[in-house]
């Protein structure tokens, strides 16, 4: 088997294990390329049946409109259930402090909404599109990652995960995060998108956009959440997004990639990692991701 066939088969196997082992699983859908691949894999795993789980989206309110439109259209086309919960509502209900600063991030806040939606529907497994090549703490996580009642990851207490035998047994109140494409790299994802002709939101491809050029050289798009001041350097460039997170903490990269093939050659050439190129939040500390995961983040 070709390596993409092997990665695909592994992911389908994991998705079916989730379906077989859990009563109330959910697929966390963000509108990004990784979760779009997950949906594609779920089609292969379960059609002609329905998905044994709903798609769940935690809407931070800072999402790109293109990603939201894509999400709604996809759920409709597939005729699968979509549950959306809003960080905005959580902030109001829990009287939380919204993100502050020049680029007000809701990255930390979305964990509250996620834990609430897990509790609301009593989800016992949440499937996510995280990959081990994204970040050094993720590189340490199991495919079936057991979380306690508070959604917390304890790296010292990970269950051994041997062969392809996945132990998803948990007590009530706990949940398992499942990562079927753990072993895929960014390039694998794009090669797969190409092979399978998967349609993506337009912001993955080059387009003209007005951006703020930040001090460390990142291109942050101008939007209603970011207050401009006179010192801001505003530029208009041909850019695309390598990851589709919040507008407030995901930066664009300069690009002339019109097609998936262009993107593949671009990624092969680039010297900067996906996170390094696009995320502002992980630069803060060396263990930012580990700490957020310990707090219940994906």
């Amino acid at each position: 088997m070709d390596y993409l066939d092997q990665l695909e088969a592994e992911a389908i196997y994991i998705l079916r294990e989730v379906a077989g082992q859990f009563d109330r699983p959910a697929l966390l859908f963000s509108g990004g390329k990784d979760s779009i691949c997950l949906v594609h894999l779920a089609l292969k795993a379960f059609r002609p049946g329905k998905f044994p789980f709903p798609l769940v989206h935690v809407d931070t309110g800072h999402n790109f409109q293109e990603a939201l439109d894509y999400r709604d259209l996809l759920a409709k086309q597939l005729d699968e259930k979509l549950i959306v919960r809003y960080v905005e509502d959580t902030i109001k209900a829990k009287n939380l402090q919204d993100g502050k600063g020049k680029f007000p991030s809701r990255n930390g806040l979305q964990t509250y909404t996620l834990l609430d939606v897990i509790e609301e529907f009593e989800f016992d497994a949440c499937i996510g599109g995280a990959r081990r090549d994204e970040e050094k703490a993720r590189a340490k996580e199991r495919i079936f990652s057991v979380r306690d009642e508070f959604g917390q990851w304890d790296p010292k207490k990970q269950r051994p995960e041997i062969w392809n035998i996945y132990n998803g047994k948990i007590d009530k109140g706990e949940n398992v995060r499942v990562f079927p494409i753990s072993n895929w790299t960014e390039l694998d994802v794009w090669n797969y998108i190409k092979r399978e002709n998967i349609v993506l939101p337009s912001i993955y491809f080059t387009h003209e956009r007005e951006c703020i050029l930040t001090e460390n050289g990142q291109l942050m798009n101008t939007n209603k959440f970011v207050e401009l001041d006179e010192n801001d350097v505003i530029v208009t460039k041909n850019v695309r997004y390598r990851t589709v997170g919040d507008m407030t903490c995901t930066s664009a990269v300069e690009s002339e990639a019109y097609t998936v093939d262009d993107i593949i050659s671009e990624i092969k050439e680039t010297k900067i990692s996906e996170r390094g190129a696009t995320r502002m939040d992980d630069r803060v500390s060396e263990a930012a991701m580990e700490d957020r995961k310990k707090g219940g983040y994906f």
Partner: protein
């Protein structure tokens, strides 16, 4: 393009993480922003070298603070020829279960030996585990050659010692490479200092080593993971058994037997990705349809009628105990083999395996963390299996503690 999975093993500080870091660094597989971060961290940890490459895989705060690997890290790189999945495992004996996790489904073990120390207990332990797991290739990297003046005699002596010790282990395909992970010699590029060594560098070795596809030629096994029943108007009677071909091949029209039921039927249809296919082979995820309406559910095993599989309640197995709490007689366990689960109890502990020389010693009735034992198990329902030697997919299982839900042991069926 092919996929090769390998892991690194060896004693604490033999240089496993450094070797992986070096391999990725010298093959230009690390992004510049990651290199910047590593350089910054290396300064902070007071390392002499400009960049401590072990930090690439030691991704947890505790690991960076203590300078050791605690849990497996997975890393990836791709060359023109292959995609590699690397499991960098801890060398500390306390974390043997994590090493076992990383090693379990790989094609190749890289066992590091510090050239100054030669074979250690951990070298032996990890070689024995590789032998138990049936890892198809063993590559011994005799590392830190820079600290023994690149002496060929040191290398030859260790090679001889290793072959002598491992004679009993039935290791398949053992190879040796002298390296210095720190300087990068013989990792990706060859080295002047090691000019006496004429073989491949580690990188070349990885690109060339033959990837075994044992399961393709073994007897055919399929296990049901999930039953697809849309129950819609137009698919009212649709009943598909979703799962993956564990080994061998399955064909439309093939007569099969379902275990543990032991009832016979015929494969009426095979589907993959919404399309009907005629034949499916090892590794493929498919949906099987059967001619008769039988009580087939998650965990049922499908086998061609003209092939045999064991199906019974008594098993002889070798297990590695992975729970902090020692085994307690009478403990209720759940056995899981792929998607099949049944209750199980340990009837007898036959012997303990001495991890230093692979000999069997008498059991004192206990099983502690990281110990290997030969045991007799009794299951509540019939389990269909092959010996692990015959089939790595149907001969392996885990044991789960019914109270804590933890995976407490990994087992292979003898």
């Amino acid at each position: 393009m092919e996929l090769l999975r390998f892991f690194t093993a060896g004693n604490v500080d033999d240089g496993k993480s450094t070797l992986i870091g070096r391999l990725l660094f010298d093959s230009n597989s690390i992004s510049t922003d990651i290199i910047e971060t590593l350089t910054r961290q290396s300064k902070a940890t007071g390392n002499d070298a400009d960049i401590d490459l072990a930090l690439l895989t030691d991704g947890l705060r505790a690991e960076r603070e203590q300078g050791i690997t605690i849990d497996v890290a997975y890393k990836y790189f791709t060359t023109e020829k292959r995609k590699f999945i690397i499991a960098d495992t801890p060398g500390h004996s306390q974390y043997t279960r994590n090493m076992f996790t990383g090693a379990s489904n790989t094609d190749l073990a890289i066992i590091l030996v510090d050239a100054r120390n030669g074979i250690t207990d951990q070298t032996k332990r990890h070689s024995i585990i590789s032998s138990i797991l049936g890892i198809p290739h063993i590559l011994v990297c005799i590392n830190k050659m820079d600290l023994v003046n690149y002496d060929e005699n040191v290398y030859n002596q260790i090679q001889e010692d290793y072959l002598k010790f491992s004679k009993e282990l039935n290791l398949k395909n053992v190879s040796f490479i002298p390296t210095s992970a720190l300087t990068g010699e013989n990792v990706v590029t060859n080295s002047e200092n090691l000019a006496w060594y004429k073989g491949a560098s580690l990188f070349e070795f990885l690109e060339q080593v033959e990837i075994p596809h044992e399961e393709e030629n073994q007897d055919s096994r399929f296990q049901v993971q999930y039953v697809i029943r849309p129950q819609t108007e137009d698919l009212h009677d649709y009943r598909g058994y979703a799962g993956s071909v564990l080994s061998g091949t399955f064909k439309k029209g093939q007569e099969v037997q379902i275990f543990p039921l032991e009832s016979k039927t015929t494969i009426s249809k095979i589907e993959q990705n919404g399309k009907e296919i005629i034949e499916a082979s090892a590794g493929e995820s498919i949906i099987i349809h059967l001619e008769h309406d039988l009580d087939v559910s998650r965990g049922s095993t499908i086998v061609p009628l003209n092939q045999q599989i064991e199906s019974e309640k008594n098993l002889e197995a070798t297990i590695c105990w992975m729970d902090n709490k020692a085994f307690q007689a009478g403990q209720k366990l759940i056995l899981q083999q792929n998607s099949f689960r049944t209750k199980a109890i340990v009837k007898e502990i036959d012997s303990k395996i001495d991890i230093h020389n692979f000999s069997e010693i008498e059991s004192d009735g206990t099983i502690q963390l990281n110990e290997f034992c030969k045991i007799q198990l009794k299951t509540a329902e019939n389990i269909s299996f092959d010996s692990y030697k015959k089939n790595r997919k149907t001969g392996a299982f885990i044991l789960i503690n019914e109270n804590t839900n933890n995976t407490v042991a990994a087992g292979i069926i003898n």
